[in-house]
Symmetry: C2
Subunit: 347 residues, 2 copies
């Protein structure tokens, strides 16, 4: 046992899981009295102390979480995903007596300026970040300045899954696209195309991997797979252009999976539902037009973010802190299968 | 001149408009130096003092506005309008150094409980309310407790336009539907139907008035107009059912205006674009499918809300206060005309 007892030490001493220890610390009412007493005895015996920051977030009823509200995009079909995350986060935070404070920023530097302002003024105790990217200066700044934070989104670098200082929750887009591709492979044919964003976006590249894995497993050669994919910026008209390119280069196409519902809607408007399509984000547009899409379970993401903020880590992993507690959560998405839209292109 | 000099007094003494006085108080940088000095001299001479609350909101850089985040609706096409308002409000508030704090509530009573909690703790200096309704207990509570607030939405009662204690900004849905109806009357024919919500919703009844006015002006008799309208709950499938009922009772239908894009989308899916339709809210769905819709200028609404919160009224009209300053703003919506979706129903 090291100098600082950890949650794992407490769990071992009390003969319970780490989750139970976390529950005793954060939601004692859900733990049976006998178990609670056993864990509390182990905490006393070992002299275990959760971080000050975690304690602060847990005990101050008025603790405030800051989050940037992204600007509305014109082609706002998929943008609504972050609004839906904000709703889930606010609702769960409210139940725990935490407040959510909004701010805006034009770019990462502007967002860092806001971090500085809001943490100096003690207006905000922890930050939630969205839309992370490779080499994100925002998380670097927060780590350097010892600020509590959790991101919805991975760091998208070599340390993706292991970086001990960066707490994150994300949705496993790769498995989502893999499920979508396998669904089409088993229902419509073996030539399933991929319509995704230009290479270099962490999210987009990750989703593409899911398609690639499923197609390789189905037996198609890589040379053939090259003809089955095309890249486009996000947007309905870009999706419509891209599906025309894909059809002309593919040499036969049985279905297509997309990295967004905007692209999927573009496919539909250009093909009139002739080619089965699966989108991503399960937006109201997919639901109302009746096409299949991969849904991000935003309630689970929000719950994970709050657990990492208020649990043993308290949104900040200190050097030498307990590294055995999970600090990253990859949430599985859910494929929503629909019949396809009963619409055809009339021009 | 009364005991308390008003903005109107200052404006008269300085020979400028009330808006200019408000600018000098709130955004002096937009006023020419000579004019600014003249207004400031008049303020000094008359001993004019804006409300304490207004001053507090204007001078405290950390003043915080509380707003309830509505739950996501399943059929979320039109729900996004409040998200878009929140974006506009947060962006403008941020530029003025005001913060936006979110909370949730299940019902009006729960929202009042939050008002109490947030104002007792001095966490929030003013509230912004959305989705107002007739006899709304929330605004009553806020007025009774002297809290600063502005609503996006009218009180929907007999005092709509005159209630001096209730500051509001709203979009003139009546003129929006009137414009939509006149557009169809001048382009597709004289039998324009109305597909709206059941009577009793302030917003819905107001929009219906716009259709009714335009149709009466076009010369159709009231007996005929009765056959041209039908009510439905909001939602795509309700819209599809309703247009079938409307077609069977109308005895000829050249086009239809709706109180929401959800209903309009229902019309489209049921008729395949055979009947020209205009929706309301100009959602991403209307833009991406290419049908016409009435757009709410949410930037203007947000700007109006902030002006009423931070201007001379400070979100709260005191008894005996200046009643000459505008305290209600009815913003004109904008009809976005599109060609109609190039889609037809295939079942």
């Amino acid at each position: 046992m090291g100098a600082q007892p950890t949650v794992t030490d407490v769990a071992g001493a009390a003969g319970v899981s780490r989750q139970t220890v976390s529950n005793v610390l954060n939601a004692p009412e859900v733990v049976r009295p006998e178990t609670r007493e056993r864990v509390q005895a182990a905490i006393r015996t070992l002299g275990y102390r959760p971080h000050a920051s975690a304690r602060r977030l847990r005990t101050q009823k008025s603790s405030t979480i800051g989050i940037r509200l992204d600007p509305i995009t014109q082609d706002g079909i998929s943008g609504s995903i972050l609004d839906r995350f904000l709703h889930a986060l606010t609702e769960l935070a409210d139940r725990q007596g935490l407040r959510v404070l909004l701010f805006t920023a034009d770019d990462p530097e502007g967002e860092i300026e806001q971090f500085r302002r809001l943490s100096d003024g003690a207006d905000v105790d922890a930050f939630v970040l969205t839309s992370t990217f490779h080499g994100d200066p925002r998380t670097e700044w927060l780590i350097d300045h010892g600020q509590s934070f959790v991101t919805f989104g991975r760091p998208w670098g070599i340390d993706d899954m292991t970086d001990p200082e960066h707490l994150w929750v994300d949705v496993d887009g790769r498995s989502g696209l893999r499920d979508a591709t396998e669904h089409l492979l088993s229902t419509v044919g073996n030539r399933i195309g991929f319509l995704g964003w230009p290479a270099g976006s962490g999210t987009g590249d990750d989703r593409r991997e899911g398609w690639l894995e499923a197609m390789r497993d189905s037996g198609l050669a890589d040379a053939e797979l090259q003809r089955l994919e095309v890249a486009a910026e996000d947007g309905v008209t870009f999706g419509a252009d891209a599906i025309r390119r894909l059809e002309s280069q593919a040499g036969g196409l049985d279905g297509v999976v997309c990295t967004s519902d905007s692209l999927a809607l573009g496919v539909l408007t250009a093909t009139g539902g002739r080619i089965p399509v699966v989108g991503y984000d399960d937006t109201p547009v997919a639901a109302s037009l009746g096409f299949s899409s991969v849904a991000q379970p935003l309630d689970e993401v929000a719950a994970g973010v709050l657990e990492l903020l208020t649990g043993v880590h308290g949104g900040r992993v200190q050097p030498g802190g307990d590294v055995s507690d999970p600090r990253h959560r990859l949430v599985a998405p859910r494929l929503v299968v629909r019949d396809g839209p009963p619409l055809i292109w009339a021009r």
